[in-house]
C-alpha cells in the first residue's frame, strides 16, 4: 500500500489553490476529505503528480440555509457536520435521512459531501440525494464561477464535469416550491459498506398535493440514475397506492444494475421498487392525516 511519488501542496487561500490548479493542469488533484482519493492512491489506481490539499483553506466548512428552504454546503463541510446538523432536521428530510447512512462514523469525520459529488462514484449516496433535490455544484477557477446542475455534473463512473483548473466550492439545494418531505433508504451489507441499492426521494407539496418530485438511485447503474418518469408520475398526486406502485415500477425500470457480489440484478431492481414504495407509503401517512 505505497502510493507513487507525488508533490504535496497545502495552499491557505482559494486563490492560491486555483493558481496551483492553473499551473499544474491535469497533473494536479484536489484533496478534500481524502476518503476516496487516498485509498485510490495507496492502491495506485490514482497517481496524481501534485496533490493540492484544500483543508487549510478557510471558509469552506460551512453549511447554511438560504431563503425559501434552500441550502448551501461548502467544500469542506464533512459528512459528520451534516449528520449532526441542527439545520437539516425538518427542513431537509432527504439529506437528514442520508447523512447517517454514508460510510461509517470514522469516514464521516473526514469525508465531504462536495468531495463525494466530485468523486462521482455510482455508489455514492450524496449524488442521489442532491440529484433528487435538483441541486447543483458551484465551480470556481481563475476564469470565474459557474453553476452546474448535479445531473450534468456527474457525467459518468468516476467522472465529473469540472475542468482541470476548477474547484467545486459548494453544493446548492434550491429553494422549495412547497413543504419538503422525502427520505433516503440504503441497503448495505454492513455499516461502512457501499449501497447494494439506494433510493433518494425528495418531494415538495402544497396542501398534500405533490408539486415537485425527484427520485434518484444509488448503486444500480454506471452512474447515479435520475428516475425522472417515476418522479413525474407523482406530481399532482396525493401519493395514492396506485400512484405509488406506478412510481415504484417506473423507478425499477430505469435501474440498470449488474449482478455482482452485492446481489443479482433482479434483486437490486426489486429493492429499488421496494424502497420507493416504502418511502412513499410512509410519506403518505402524515400527509393524509394533515389533509
Amino acid at each position: 500500500m505505497y502510493p507513487s511519488r507525488f508533490r504535496y501542496e497545502a495552499p491557505r487561500t482559494l486563490d492560491e489553490a486555483l493558481a496551483l490548479l492553473a499551473e499544474h493542469g491535469d497533473e494536479a488533484k484536489i484533496l478534500a476529505g481524502g476518503q476516496s482519493l487516498v485509498p485510490m492512491m495507496k492502491l495506485r489506481f490514482a497517481a496524481p503528480g501534485v496533490l493540492v490539499d484544500i483543508n487549510n483553506v478557510a471558509g469552506l466548512g460551512f453549511h447554511e440555509e438560504t431563503p425559501g428552504g434552500g441550502l448551501r454546503v461548502g467544500a469542506l463541510c464533512r459528512h459528520v457536520d451534516l449528520e449532526h446538523s441542527t439545520v437539516l432536521p425538518g427542513a431537509q428530510p432527504t439529506m437528514a435521512a442520508a447523512a447517517p447512512l454514508v460510510a461509517d462514523p470514522i469516514v464521516r469525520t473526514r469525508g465531504t459531501l462536495v468531495g463525494s459529488l466530485c468523486h462521482a462514484d455510482p455508489q455514492g449516496d450524496w449524488a442521489s440525494v442532491m440529484l433528487a433535490l435538483g441541486g447543483s455544484v458551484v465551480a470556481a477557477s481563475r476564469r470565474g464561477r459557474r453553476t452546474i446542475p448535479v445531473g450534468e455534473f456527474v457525467v459518468g463512473t468516476f467522472q465529473n464535469a469540472l475542468e482541470h483548473d476548477e474547484i467545486a466550492v459548494e453544493a446548492v439545494v434550491p429553494a422549495a416550491q412547497g413543504v419538503r418531505s422525502g427520505s433516503y433508504l440504503k441497503l448495505e451489507r454492513r455499516v461502512g459498506d457501499f449501497a447494494t441499492a439506494g433510493v433518494a426521494v425528495a418531494l415538495e407539496s402544497v396542501s398534500g398535493e405533490i408539486v415537485r418530485a425527484g427520485i434518484a438511485l444509488t448503486g444500480v447503474g454506471p452512474a447515479t440514475i435520475a428516475a425522472t418518469e417515476a418522479a413525474q408520475a407523482l406530481v399532482g398526486s396525493t401519493l395514492d397506492p396506485d400512484v405509488v406502485d406506478r412510481a415504484a415500477e417506473l423507478a425499477a425500470a430505469v435501474a440498470r444494475p449488474r449482478t455482482d457480489h452485492r446481489g443479482t440484478a433482479d434483486y437490486k431492481r426489486h429493492v429499488v421498487a421496494t424502497f420507493v414504495r416504502r418511502i412513499l407509503t410512509a410519506e403518505r401517512a402524515p400527509a393524509g392525516a394533515a389533509a
Binding site: R189, V191, H261, T264
Partner: protein
C-alpha cells in the same frame, strides 16, 4: 465456577481468586501495553541498515510465464536486489514442501497457478522504491484456462494444473475415506426415512488485523540468522528452516513479537518468509517484508471451501441409524493445509461425535484449482468447522424431514452423561460432558416454547421468525503424539518455570499468544499450583533462543497442552519446595501438608512456611546435598484430545421483501471444563460468535469464472462491526476434562465452529413454509430473497456470477 475446593474452616490457605488463580477474571496483562499503543509488532522492528522487500504477484489465475524482464527494475536508484524464481532455483528454493506433503512454489518459474501468486520480489532502500520497481518488472504471460471449482477440475479436458509434479495426471490432490461402509449400507437398508442434504461451505479467510511480515537478519560475520516474524509457531518455523533450508538449527533464532491475530493464518511458512530470508542472505543486510491486505487475503492460508453431499438414515421415532457423506475440498493450486493429523482431510470425521450414532462412512476428495492454497486455517482444528456445520445442518434437515421438533430430535440422539468415555463411529474417544443439561439451559434461556407460539402468531401476519439450534462437541488440543505430528515432530508442548529467591517467577512456554491472553492465564495456572500471586509471575514466549521447544498456538491447543505442561512443571517445583519446607520446619517430608501458598506441619497447622520462604531457602538455606535453585521444565504429551461442548441458539426475523435478516436474540451455553479466567473465556466465545455471525451473514471469498478473487480487500471482504453484531447471552456448565491436570478443555474455537449453524438454521427455520432446504453461506439478502421467492435452494459455489 471452578473445580477449586473451598478452603476448610480455620485454614490459612490463600484466597485463590484474590491472588489471581483459577476462576479469577483478572484483567489481561497484555492490555496494559496494547491499549497504550506500546505493543511491539514486526512492523515496529527496525534494524540498522535494514532494506525493504516487496512482492510482485500474478494478475492471472492460470498462465504460462514466457519471460520476465527485470532490467527496468534494476535500473531504479535505490534498488538492491530483484529476485526471480529462476534465481531462487539456483539455491534450490524456487519450490518448498508444504505441511501436507505436497510442494508449493516460492516464486513462480514455469506457470502461475492462482491470482496473487508470488512471481518476483524486489529489495530496495525504502518500500516505495521497492513498489516502484515491482511495477517496472515486465512479465509476459500466456493465459491458460482457469479452474475455479472441483467440478471443473475433473471435467473431461480440464487443463492439468500441477504439470510440475511427475506422476500427477489429473487435478485430484488426494482421496480418503473413514468408517464402516458395509455396516453403514446395512443400516441405510433398514431406515424408515433417509434425509439428504447438499451444500457448500464457502471459502473464508482468517483476516488477522496484522498481516504477515518478517524482518530477516542474516549476519554473515557470525553466521546467525535471526528472523522476527508473525508466527503462531516459532519453534516449528525454526525446525522447518533447519530441515528445509539446511541451515544449522543452533544458528537460527525465530522471534515472534506481539502478534496481531493469527486464527490459523500464521502457522505456515509462506513464500514471503522464504524470500525475506533468502534476500537477507544475498544482501547480507536485514530485510523487512510487510505484506499488504490484498497480499494477505489473496495468497495466504484460507479456511473451508468444501462441499457436502450427505445422507442420514433415520427411524420414524427419531433415532439416527447411520450417517454417510462425501466431502470435496477445494485445495487451490497447492495442497498446503497446515495440519498435523494423519488424516488427509483433517478432523472432519469428528462430526457427529456428540450424537449416539452407531455407524457411519465418510469419503473425501481434494482438488487442485487455480485458487490460493491452504484450507484448514481460520479458528478451526483442521476442518472441524465444516464437520460441525455439516452435522448441524444435517440434524436440522433430518428433524424437518421427520416432522419432529428440532430440540426433541437432538434430545433423542445426544450422547448421555453415563456413556463417557464414548467411542464415536469414526474412532474418536470423547472424554466427558453433560450435553442434555447444556441443551436444556439453552432452551430455557431462549424461552423455546414461548418463541414457537410467537413464531406461529407472527406467521399469520406474514412475518417470518425463525429459531436455530447448534449443538456440538469438538476435538481440541492436538496431540497425542501417536496421531499428531508436524514434520515428524510430535504434538507435545512445554513449559519452563523459574522461581527467583524472593518468590517471584518467570514462566516460559512453547505456545505463542496472538491475542488469547496467555501472559494472563498461564500465570493463573502457576498461581493455582503454587499460591504465588499471579502479579508476581511473568510469562514469556515467542523467542526460540529463550523458550522451550513447543508446537505453538492453534487448534485451541495451548491450554490443553502447554497449560497442562505449566501445571506439571509447577508441581515439580512444589515437590522440591516441599523438601525445602521440611528442612525449614525441621520435620520429615511426610509430615508436611500443602494448602494454597504454604506448607505446614500436619497436626500443627500454625507451624508453616510460605512458598516464598521456600524459594528463598532454595538459594540461601538448602539442606545438605540438595542442588540449589528452584526451577524446572516439563514436556507434556496429552493422553487424548479434550472435548468441550456448546449449545448455541439464535432467533431471527427475515424481511420477506428484502431478504435482510436480523438476529433477535442469541444464547450460548459453553462447557469447556474448568475456566481459568472466566472473562477471557467469555471474550473468546463472543469473538467466535461474532466471526460465526460474519460467516453466516456477509463474509466470503469467491472467484469469478476467470479466476479473479472477489474478497481481496476489506471493502469486499466484510468484517462485521459493533453496529451489526448481535448481543450474546452466555451461560456456562463445567464438566472437567478427566485427563487434563486442571480439568480444562480448549475453548478458543468453539463459538466460531458451532456458531454458524445456529444462525443458518434459524434463517432456514424462518423460511420453512417456503420449502427451501438450503441457502449457502453467507446468507446474503439477495440469496434469501431469491430462495423465499422461488422456493428453490440457492448455491453459493463458484464461479461467481457477474454480468
Amino acid at each position: 465456577m471452578t473445580a477449586t475446593a473451598e478452603p476448610a474452616a480455620g485454614s490459612r490457605a490463600l484466597d485463590e481468586v484474590k491472588i489471581g488463580g483459577l476462576g479469577s477474571s483478572r484483567p489481561r496483562v497484555e492490555d496494559a501495553r496494547f491499549i497504550r499503543g506500546r505493543g511491539n509488532y514486526v512492523e515496529d522492528v527496525t534494524l540498522p541498515g535494514m532494506l525493504h522487500m516487496e512482492i510482485l504477484r500474478s494478475p492471472l489465475a492460470h498462465a504460462r510465464i514466457k519471460s520476465i524482464d527485470t532490467s527496468a527494475a534494476w535500473a531504479i536508484p535505490g534498488v538492491k536486489l530483484v529476485l526471480t524464481g529462476e534465481m531462487a532455483a539456483q539455491r534450490n528454493l524456487a519450490w518448498m514442501p508444504t505441511l501436507s506433503y505436497d510442494t508449493q512454489a516460492v516464486l513462480a518459474t514455469d506457470k502461475v497457478r492462482f491470482q496473487g501468486q508470488e512471481v518476483a520480489c524486489v529489495v530496495a532502500e525504502d518500500p516505495y522504491i521497492a513498489k516502484d520497481a515491482c511495477d517496472a518488472i515486465v512479465v509476459e504471460y500466456e493465459a491458460l484456462p482457469p479452474i475455479v471449482n472441483p467440478e471443473q477440475a475433473v471435467a473431461p479436458g480440464a487443463p492439468l494444473i500441477r504439470d510440475d509434479k511427475s506422476g500427477q495426471a489429473d487435478n485430484i490432490a488426494y482421496q480418503w475415506e473413514v468408517g464402516d461402509k458395509d455396516g453403514t449400507d446395512a443400516a441405510f437398508a433398514k431406515a424408515d426415512v433417509v434425509s439428504k442434504l447438499r451444500l457448500h461451505y464457502p471459502r473464508s479467510h482468517p483476516s488477522p488485523i496484522e498481516n504477515c511480515g518478517a524482518v530477516a537478519d542474516f549476519n554473515n560475520a557470525t553466521g546467525k540468522l535471526t528472523v522476527y516474524m508473525t508466527s503462531q509457531a516459532p519453534h516449528i518455523v525454526r525446525a522447518a528452516v533447519a530441515l528445509i533450508a539446511e541451515l544449522p538449527e543452533h544458528l537460527i533464532r525465530i522471534i515472534s513479537p506481539d502478534v496481531g491475530g493469527g486464527f490459523g493464518n500464521k502457522v505456515p511458512v509462506y513464500p514471503g518468509y522464504v524470500c525475506a530470508i533468502l534476500c537477507s542472505i544475498l544482501t547480507a543486510k536485514p530485510v523487512k517484508w510487510i505484506e499488504d491486505n490484498t497480499g494477505n487475503l489473496s495468497s495466504t492460508g484460507f479456511g473451508r471451501d468444501m462441499y457436502l453431499d450427505s445422507e442420514m438414515a433415520l427411524t420414524n421415532d427419531g433415532k439416527i441409524l447411520a450417517v454417510r457423506y462425501h466431502a470435496t475440498t477445494d485445495q487451490g493450486a497447492f495442497f498446503a493445509d497446515a495440519q498435523p493429523t494423519k488424516f488427509k482431510i483433517g478432523l472432519v470425521h469428528s462430526s457427529f461425535a456428540c450424537y449416539d450414532v452407531p455407524v457411519g462412512h465418510i469419503t473425501a476428495q481434494g482438488m487442485y484449482t487455480n485458487k490460493a492454497p491452504g484450507g484448514v486455517a481460520y479458528r478451526c482444528s483442521f476442518r472441524v468447522t465444516e464437520a460441525m456445520f455439516f452435522q448441524e445442518r444435517m440434524i436440522q434437515a433430518a428433524a424437518d424431514d421427520l416432522g419432529m421438533d428440532q430440540a426433541e430430535f437432538r434430545r433423542r440422539n445426544l450422547v448421555r452423561d453415563d456413556q463417557f468415555p464414548y467411542r464415536t463411529p469414526f474412532g474418536f474417544l470423547t472424554d466427558s460432558g453433560q450435553y442434555l443439561k447444556c441443551l436444556q439451559i439453552g432452551l430455557d434461556a431462549i424461552g423455546y416454547d414461548d418463541f414457537l407460539v410467537e413464531q406461529a402468531e407472527a406467521r399469520k401476519q406474514g412475518r417470518l421468525l425463525g429459531i436455530g439450534i447448534s449443538t456440538m462437541t469438538e476435538p481440541l488440543g492436538a496431540g497425542n503424539s501417536r496421531e499428531y505430528d508436524i514434520l515428524g515432530i510430535k504434538m507435545f508442548d512445554s513449559a519452563e518455570l523459574r522461581v527467583h529467591p524472593t518468590g517471584k517467577a518467570v514462566l516460559k512456554i512453547g505456545a505463542q499468544t496472538q491475542g488469547q491472553g496467555h501472559e494472563t492465564t498461564f500465570a493463573q495456572i502457576v498461581t493455582h499450583e503454587l499460591g504465588i500471586p499471579a502479579t508476581d509471575i511473568v510469562v514469556e514466549h515467542g523467542d526460540t533462543d529463550h523458550t522451550p521447544f513447543g508446537m505453538g498456538t492453534y487448534a485451541s491447543r495451548s491450554t490443553p497442552v502447554a497449560g497442562a505442561a505449566t501445571a506439571m512443571v509447577a508441581r515439580k517445583i512444589r515437590a522440591k519446595a516441599r523438601k525445602l519446607a521440611a528442612h525449614l520446619l525441621e520435620v520429615s517430608e511426610e509430615d508436611v501438608e500443602w494448602e494454597l501458598g504454604r506448607f505446614f506441619v500436619r497436626g500443627a497447622e500454625s507451624r508453616g512456611v510460605t512458598i516464598q520462604e521456600c524459594a528463598m531457602a532454595a538459594y540461601s538455606n538448602m539442606p545438605d546435598g540438595m542442588e540449589p535453585g528452584l526451577e524446572n521444565n516439563a514436556y507434556y504429551d496429552p493422553p487424548n484430545l479434550t472435548w468441550p461442548f456448546a449449545c448455541y441458539i439464535a432467533t431471527v426475523e427475515v424481511d420477506p421483501e428484502t431478504g435482510v435478516w436480523d438476529v433477535l436474540r442469541f444464547v450460548g451455553v459453553d462447557d469447556c471444563g474448568v475456566r481459568i479466567n472466566p472473562m477471557i473465556v467469555e471474550g473468546q466465545i463472543m469473538g467466535g460468535l461474532t466471526e460465526a455471525y460474519a460467516m453466516s451473514n456477509m463474509q466470503f471469498q469467491t472467484y469469478d469464472a476467470d479466476g479473479n478473487l472477489v474478497g481481496a480487500n476489506y471493502m469486499d471482504y466484510l468484517l462485521p462491526t459493533a453496529w451489526e453484531t448481535p448481543g450474546f447471552e452466555l451461560h456456562e456448565v463445567v464438566t472437567p476434562s478427566p485427563h487434563h491436570p486442571i480439568g480444562a478443555k480448549g475453548v478458543g474455537e468453539c463459538a466460531a465452529v458451532g456458531g454458524p449453524a445456529a444462525y443458518v438454521n434459524a434463517v432456514m427455520n424462518a423460511l420453512r413454509p417456503t420449502g427451501v432446504r438450503n441457502i449457502d453461506m453467507p446468507l446474503l439478502p439477495d440469496r434469501v430473497w431469491h430462495a423465499a421467492h422461488t422456493g428453490q435452494d440457492v448455491s453459493g459455489a463458484p464461479p461467481f456470477r457477474t454480468e
